[in-house]
Symmetry: none
Subunit: 216 residues, 4 copies
């Protein structure tokens, strides 16, 4: 079996399988520089191999991106979905928001490359992974949560001025975005005491009661 290798794993498996290592290296590079600015040379260097090997394993630059999407990014979505917990999308909006924040926070902790990659390549205009991803899982995932918020709104469980369609966008802006921008704002202040728990607490407080209300 020769010819142009379509993405897939080599048939024979040896002790040191470089395929996952290459994908990990690609994920790291994509996360740091962005997909467009990442040359195969960078990924190869990060993985300690030659650029030609990337073609050997993945066939082309685009197929490598596809592999990253299939084997790293999409599973992550599943992971977030599972971590929404037994309640899933049901329950009060407060509970759903709490589970969402918690799930994102946990996922970010486990996969620090996620926020920048997702923000740049999925959420921003011109992102490379945007179209293929949204077509597949993203659309459904997104719309389910929006539907849950809309139902809550219809039941009168959300304040009048809160738009259920924008609530998920706001949540992403309060969780994924701060994580993606962390290298910047952590560079501007002393944030050594702000860990993921502290962030979670802050975000939850903000979404739950806002900054208004009566405090001591």
């Amino acid at each position: 079996m020769t010819g142009k290798r379509t993405p897939g794993r080599p048939l024979h498996r040896t002790s040191t399988d470089l395929r996952p290592a290459i994908i990990d290296a690609a994920v790291r590079c994509y996360s740091q520089r962005g997909v467009a600015a990442t040359a195969l040379k960078h990924i190869a260097g990060e993985a300690g191999v030659t650029p030609a090997l990337l073609h050997y394993y993945f066939g082309s630059r685009e197929h490598l991106q596809q592999a990253v999407l299939d084997e790293r990014v999409l599973p992550l979505l599943k992971e977030v979905q599972q971590q929404l917990g037994p309640g899933g999308l049901s329950g009060s909006p407060e509970a759903l928001v709490r589970r969402f924040i918690s799930a994102v926070s946990a996922t970010v902790d486990r996969h620090p490359w996620w926020p920048p990659l997702w923000t740049r390549e999925v959420l921003l205009e011109g992102g490379v992974l945007r179209a293929p991803l949204i077509e597949r899982t993203g659309k459904q995932f997104f719309q389910q949560i929006v539907a849950a918020f809309s139902a809550a709104k219809d039941r009168g469980e959300l304040p009048p001025d809160i738009d259920p369609r924008l609530l998920l966008v706001s949540l992403v802006g309060l969780t994924l975005f701060p994580a993606a921008a962390a290298p910047v704002w952590r560079n501007l202040m002393d944030t050594r005491d702000i860990d993921s728990q502290a962030m979670e607490r802050h975000t939850l407080a903000l979404v739950s009661q806002g900054i208004g209300g009566h405090h001591a």
Copy 2:
């Protein structure tokens, strides 16, 4: 025989100055594709001139980026600052937050290229404009607002779990980020009735009271 042209503006100025047109074209391209993925050819095409002209006017690819930073991005920061209004950074945190949201919203309306460009190239790791911008104005601007929130927190004007250092990050995630990601989420639902006013109202409601509280 001009020798190696020092980057900068051409020596003579005529009635048809292409310089601003080129910078505008560059801003549009940067905003859509990102700086790294934008070839001079794209900008030249957008501006209706030749790539060689970009060198004639700006000396190099990087100097053009610099010009965009100096003449479009930095002035925008000033604009936001001014729109924070007469109160500036003083007053209650609620008032400051309201003015901030309003100022960002107005600026986004006037300069739609701002959110994606800023998010990708300033706030994300690996952003090209990040270092030069933060060194100059960004740092100061950022820290002033954080300081205002910290003072309010010390005065007991913020709930206990709200971290004043994270509040600005949250605000950016609730204003600039949704605007940057608009092309994505507007594609996933019917959002024809969501204009910038509606977004402002939603965001303000969320930050003010959160989703909790008693509703009809």
Copy 3:
């Protein structure tokens, strides 16, 4: 006007226009090594320029081949057609054959690159120029001559065993092919006295009377 240059000539014309020189160099290389075995580097070297310039003028390797076809090979067909003389395809088959041999001989003299290029890239299986050329002019040209021979055959002007459809193939094998193979057979014998006139005479004699008959 920038962007990917489709084949065509540069709009501005300077004293030394390299475009024809490059096409000539390409023709020479294609003729000697064959299209498939000719790297852009070879053509560039032959023309005294850099490979990048070939892209500047022609856009891609394939577009250069197209230009060679359009601007060198196809005009040659026209030339041969014109040199078939005022009689065109009419008259006795002997006269047509004589004019054909003469026309090919004259064309080969003027364009020594023609026989190898045509043989390898048009007449042989897998030839690169075959499909595009035959689709356009070749088919018509070929069939017209075959039709003329067929008509002559119907009028009883050709011997019984001569197949009019094969006659043109035979003629090409007696004119173009020997010219294409000349470097080989000239290397095997002393052929200094065989010029194009001598070849023409030999070929004409062979086709006219064959090797049989009564000789002194």
Copy 4:
């Protein structure tokens, strides 16, 4: 640890010898695409093995070509020589020509890959097999036939304008060349009724009497 394998046949021979199968596959590929355009990958695919195996058996790309030359092309020359029949090169030129045409025709029938391969790689300038082959057997074979025609010419058995040195070239152009170009001209007309016998008859008629003479 075999060290750098001297090209040649593998050390041990088993019941399933892939060597001839590989050579056959190579012959097919060379005939269709030409040697220069044939990657080892193609041959391997055609033979149902891996490219690495070609190196294992032949040591290098060039040695495989050598093997094709030695074990397929050169034996073919012998075959043609034998089929020239008991008379060999003696007898009248008509008889020699008849035997030559017949021998080539029979060989082409048995080995359809021969005409394109031989034309492209031996007879044309830049042919890969040209030098090694002509050095060995070709030169001798060629010159013997030319000598026979020259002797006949001296004996007055050939018409005055027929050059004995060109006669063999003409014969090749009338036999091997039409077979090599068959895929092209068969595509331009209805030639279902033209088999190798019909071609032989046509060619023989042309060489014997030409197209002139008295016909009904």
